[in-house]
């Protein structure tokens, strides 16, 4: 029995139809899911578009953008969001790196497996549930946090009723939920360091800091960049946890940018203004991501 064996086609000889057949559905789906809603948001942002006043909707050009850029509430919310980012993200990275380095050390295999598994729990918990838990746990009178602090002779603290403490509570909760994610990504990065190089480095120096800086860090940079981009984007759009825990209050102490957009778009129903806010937020996120990539990748290449 003989069969004619065809040689595999060379990439250059694949027809356009075949390429489109394989790639087309994915590209079209992505465009429908990602680009069409974005285009609609941009279109909406240039209209006077209030859901409860649709009869008088009209094209108003960049008026919504001008309103947003001159709106003190928008910049206040932006300021709060970046303050949160500037405090929470470094903490998550530092604690995450610490946990990753501990788990990377040889020995205690069983305990490390348990630790790795338990790290998944915070980030597997739904954001909104984390917020609801916070509402109960940080309650001034009945919350377990004040009860525990009471055993140490501290408090009680008005975690959710005091503007500064409410902000601290949000930072604490965000760090609690997302440090494990950073730890796991960085741990994955550490496992890519060739053991022989690491071993050779250990023979050269006893300083873990030197090993971290010169041997491990270069392997961690791709993971770190991904973490910076993901955590920045996530923090900029942080909503569920804060909404269920403080609803942006007390006052406007925890009204981050995503809460402001939700308030304008879905409570005051001004979708035009909310879309303009969201588009500006998107632009800021993209600019930050590009900055991270160009800065960190340049460093690793150099």
């Amino acid at each position: 029995m003989s069969q004619s064996v065809k040689s595999p086609s060379m990439p250059g000889r694949v027809s356009r139809a075949t390429l489109f057949g394989f790639l087309g559905p994915a590209v079209i789906t992505l465009a429908l899911i990602g680009i069409v809603p974005l285009a609609f948001a941009v279109w909406t942002s240039m209209r006077d578009y209030n859901l409860t006043k649709l009869a008088r909707q009209k094209f108003i050009g960049f008026e919504n953008y001008v309103t947003v850029l001159n709106d003190g509430a928008f910049w206040d919310a932006m300021g709060r969001t970046f303050t949160l980012l500037a405090i929470a993200l470094p903490m998550q990275l530092i604690f995450g790196l610490g946990i990753a380095l501990l788990l990377h050390k040889p020995g205690l295999g069983f305990f490390k497996t348990i630790a790795r598994l338990s790290l998944v729990v915070p980030m597997a918990t739904t954001y909104a549930v984390v917020g609801l838990l916070g509402q109960v746990m940080f309650n001034l009178k009945y919350g377990v946090v004040n009860q525990l602090l009471g055993f140490l002779g501290l408090g009680p603290f008005d975690w959710l009723g005091d503007p500064n403490l409410a902000f601290v509570t949000v930072i604490f909760w965000d760090v609690w939920q997302w440090t494990p994610f950073c730890a796991l990504v960085l741990l994955a990065g550490l496992t890519t360091v060739p053991p022989e190089i690491e071993e050779a480095a250990r023979l050269e120096t006893k300083s873990w800091l030197t090993i971290l800086r010169h041997v491990q860090l270069p392997f961690l940079v791709p993971g770190l960049t991904a973490l910076l981009i993901l955590r920045t984007a996530d923090t900029l759009k942080l909503f569920d946890m804060v909404f269920t825990m403080t609803r942006g209050g007390p006052g406007a102490a925890t009204e981050f940018i995503a809460l402001l957009i939700q308030r304008v778009g879905f409570r005051a129903f001004d979708q035009g203004l909310a879309s303009a806010q969201a588009v500006i937020l998107l632009i800021i996120t993209i600019v930050l991501s590009r900055l991270y990539i160009s800065f960190f990748y340049r460093e690793v290449h150099s």
Binding site: L51, T52, A55, L140, D158, R247, G249, P250, E255, R267
Partner: protein, 445 residues
């Protein structure tokens, strides 16, 4: 507006009283026959009155063959869900209308005036009797610009709940009659040993604007708007009320700006607070030994009076037929609304945990004995203000402003004058944009 409502109610009552023979033979089963098998979609909240209605709907479906699909939401989501459904021509056949949504729903044409059904003898129950509803509830919850759209369904008034035992221990033989007495006499006497005289739910959501901010405006003669629809928040009366709230905070638990209804009711139920002013809907849980550690001590009265009278908090929902429903669904929806809010079913609704707005049911001595809050409720509804919160379409935008700056006032981040100025400026900008100042829209609230 009230006059026009009253006139239409009278006309309808007359039509019912002297109606045709067909009207006399009216029965729910006969009226529903053409619509048997119809399914109607309605948004319900996760509150006791809705559980009561759900129970009653079993009987309704059995008698009529009309199925009711309940879509349950917490209050905070109910407006958004309905707005999105109505603008996209969705499935809802009934509008659940909070009193502060009615201007919005009416201006957008999302509800059918009840006249379309009450003028149809096949659908109108001869015992509908609109005059039997407490006038303030029909005016505030169901009527906009003189047209009745909905029938009062889930009805609330602010009431004063107090811990009789704590008051007696402090030497008081009854609750405070006035807000001043609460602050000057009850406040100092009851705030001690980790207990507080009073708690005013003030969380930054509708609770801040409705339960906290507005509650302190009206009894002191203040209001959100003056007759020209300009901000009235910096008037002497409004400022007196807002400053009173600041003064009263010394007798409230720490962190009161984080207190929503649950925390406030719980504070009274656990014996940590002596007096609260809360919605009538919380009466049963406060008297229930399973949910209240001091159930035997809990008593209820109408809210205290201020210099301008009692003017208690007013809130509630009506049910209206949605314009987007088809004709069969509209008819079926009307029959359901009429059934749930009828005189005949008022006591059953009360028994199951709802609060009826039918005057006749409270005339029965046994009902007043059975429901300990009934007397206070009836008294409160005599003095309610329909525009306790403005009911126009712009309220969703304005309440957000009030929530933010009202909380900032309480936290001392701004003075009451500064806060009132901020709210006033922003509120007027919203109203200006809506066209109230150039005569485009009538000054209705």
């Amino acid at each position: 507006m009230k006059l026009r409502t009253t006139v239409s109610a009278l006309a309808l009552t007359a039509a019912m009283a002297f109606g045709s023979n067909a009207a006399q033979a009216w029965s729910l089963e006969e009226a529903a026959k053409p619509y048997e098998g119809t399914t109607i979609d309605v948004v319900f909240l996760l509150r006791p009155g809705y559980e009561a209605a759900e129970e009653m709907l079993k009987d309704f479906t059995e008698r009529t063959g009309i199925n009711v699909n309940l879509i349950k939401h917490p209050y905070e989501n109910a407006l958004g869900e309905q707005v999105r459904d109505f603008i996209s021509g969705g499935d809802l056949d009934v509008a659940l209308v909070d009193l502060v949504w009615i201007g919005n729903f009416a201006e957008n044409g999302w509800m059918v005036p009840i006249e379309e059904f009450t003028s149809n003898p096949d659908l109108a129950d001869p015992d509908l009797d609109l005059e039997d509803f407490f006038p303030v509830t029909l005016d505030a919850f169901g009527t906009w610009d003189g047209t009745v759209y909905g029938l009062p369904f889930d009805n609330y008034s602010g009431l004063m709940y107090y811990n009789k035992c704590m008051l007696e221990d402090a030497g008081f033989d009854g609750p405070p009659e006035t807000w001043e007495a609460l602050k000057d006499e009850y406040g100092p006497a009851l705030t001690k040993d980790g207990k507080y005289a009073y708690a005013l739910q003030s969380k930054r959501n509708e609770t801040q604007s409705a339960d906290s901010f507005a509650r302190m405006l009206w009894p002191f003669g203040g209001s959100f708007l003056d007759a020209e629809f300009r901000s009235n928040l910096n008037s002497e009366e409004s400022q007196t009320g807002l400053k009173f709230r600041q003064d009263l905070m010394q007798y409230m638990p720490q962190g009161i700006v984080a207190y929503d209804h649950a925390e406030t009711v719980n504070a009274l139920a656990q014996g940590d607070v002596a007096i609260i002013t809360e919605w009538s809907g919380f009466a049963s849980s406060l008297k229930d030994p399973n949910t209240s550690a001091v159930a035997d001590c809990i008593e209820v009265a109408a809210e205290p009076s201020g210099p301008a009278g009692r003017k208690p908090a007013l809130g509630g929902f009506s049910l209206a037929v949605a314009s987007q429903a088809d004709d069969d669904e509209k008819a079926a929806a009307w029959l359901m609304i009429q059934y749930l809010t009828s005189k005949a079913n008022a006591e059953k609704y009360l028994d199951l945990g709802g609060v009826s707005a039918r005057q006749s049911v409270y005339e029965d001595e046994s009902v007043r004995d059975k429901f300990f809050f009934a007397d206070a409720l009836v008294e409160s509804w005599q003095e309610g203000v329909p525009e306790f919160r403005p009911r126009f379409a712009e309220w969703p935008e304005i309440t957000e402003i009030v929530q933010e700056w009202g909380t900032k006032m309480m936290l001392g981040e701004v003075t009451t004058e500064e806060g009132a100025e901020e709210i006033g400026t922003r509120m007027e900008a919203v109203l200006d944009d809506a066209g109230y100042y150039d005569g485009e829209k009538p000054l209705a609230q």
